[in-house]
């Protein structure tokens, strides 16, 4: 499928050597929304949770410490920027790299939490993220070997061979695992059951946006 059909008129490109970022209304809109959300996150203060205590009358406050807050805010800003970059990139391998960056940042955001259930699911998500590098980069490599190009603008003009379809399926399972879509949702859903909400929410938001972009990319490659 031509990317003009999917994203609207081509407004311009940002050439970076062989990697060309292209700007269509669809991609620009996603990019702008993510940047806006990143700014909101950078400016906001994290929430505090209040937990009822069993057998006693007092409540406990689950709070994010000052140092941890700074680290988490930094990582979530970088996560926002990385997913914004994934929205306008016009290169398949570039997209998978952005995806890998988002995956490692998602683990980093919750890495300093002291709740064992959260850490446990973050560990399990980390295992998936490690496994995902094989289908993500392998899929991109197979598509490159078969089509001879990584540029989405050129790929969208080609018809898909069985090898390209296989590469796309590999990439799809990599994206499903990395962004925690069903049936691989549990490890990622448990990760954000902790205090410090706006920073935690970027984990969720980045995977949502990346799924939208991944659908567009798969349509470009396969149709």
């Amino acid at each position: 499928m031509d990317f003009v059909t999917l994203g609207g008129n081509l407004l311009g490109t940002i050439p970076l050597g062989d990697i060309v970022l292209y700007l269509t209304p669809f991609n620009l809109f996603l990019f702008a929304v993510l940047l806006g959300f990143t700014v909101l996150i950078a400016l906001s203060k994290p929430e505090t949770q209040v937990e009822a205590t069993l057998h006693y009358l007092n409540n406990t406050e689950v709070k994010v410490g000052q140092k941890e807050l700074k680290q988490r805010r930094f990582l979530s800003i970088v996560c926002g920027l990385a997913s914004a970059g994934a929205m306008i990139t016009g290169d398949l391998f570039n997209f998978t790299l952005f995806m890998a960056l988002v995956g490692i940042l998602n683990i980093g955001i919750v890495s300093a939490v002291k709740q064992t259930s959260v850490l446990n699911s973050a560990f399990n998500y980390g295992l998936i993220a490690m496994m995902c590098s094989l289908p993500l980069f392998g899929g991109a490599a197979i598509i490159l070997a078969s089509a001879g190009t990584l540029s989405l603008a050129v790929l969208s003009q080609m018809s898909a061979s069985p090898m390209v379809v296989f590469g796309a399926v590999l990439m799809l399972i990599g994206i499903l695992g990395e962004s925690g879509v069903a049936p691989f949702f549990a490890s990622k859903a448990e990760m954000f059951r902790t205090a410090g909400s706006p920073y935690i929410v970027i984990i969720h938001l980045s995977s949502l946006f990346i799924i939208v972009r991944a659908v567009e990319i798969l349509l470009l490659v396969l149709w």
Binding site: P15, L75, N94, L97, A145, S146, G148, L170, F184, S187
Partner: protein, 197 residues
């Protein structure tokens, strides 16, 4: 098995990596029957295997032609207009590499012969943005790991309260383990006894 049991298993983070690995394995096995063929019209063209060796070139099979800074080598980028002076350093070899290639006909077969100029060109010229991203992935993981080790691993010996709590927890855990081992022991022994009688 009721489907509810299955859903409950899916909701346990522990099972997710196994499920993912299983489905990835299935797809890779299906990949064995997909016809795979290399498209020779690649971003960075390569001569056919053995072709350069038959010609007797000194750095076969990695000779890509070109002279440093004067004549462009054989290179086929996606967007040639974005990289005007492309191919100019493709033929570059370090003095050591040049010396080895002058005395040995097998230079191209060793790992250090992979043409430095070409790799530099790909990494820093045509696909420079990918290099930036790759190193930022590494940097982020180092930031996370070093922050955790500075704040949680190295700093812990100053936090007496936490150490006391952890010691208490460790004692409790090891007691639990010991109790479980003992219970299992008793169970196994009784089973053995029953079998003997």
């Amino acid at each position: 098995m009721r489907i509810g049991v299955l859903w409950n298993k899916l909701a346990d983070p522990k099972n997710i990596p196994r499920l993912f690995a299983f489905s990835l394995g299935i797809i890779l096995i299906i990949g064995l029957v997909v016809p795979l063929a290399l498209n020779p019209d690649q971003l960075y063209v390569r001569p056919a295997p053995q072709e350069q060796i038959d010609e007797g070139l000194a750095i076969a099979p990695y000779d890509r032609g070109g002279e440093v800074l004067t004549q462009a080598g054989i290179i086929n980028p996606q967007y040639p207009d974005n990289a005007a002076s492309l191919g100019m350093i493709t033929g570059y070899m370090s003095p050591l590499a040049q010396w080895v290639s002058s005395i040995s006909p097998y230079f191209g077969t060793s790992i250090y012969s992979s043409p430095g100029g070409l790799i530099d060109e790909i990494l820093y010229y045509t696909r420079g943005f990918d290099t930036i991203l790759e190193s930022s992935i590494l940097m982020m993981s180092f930031i996370i790991a070093s922050w955790l080790s500075v704040n949680y691993t190295m700093n812990r010996k100053n936090d007496g309260e936490e150490i006391r709590q952890d010691v208490k927890k460790a004692i409790k855990d090891s007691n639990n383990v010991a109790r479980e081992v003992k219970a299992n022991d008793v169970k196994a022994r009784s089973k053995q006894l029953r079998r003997d009688n």
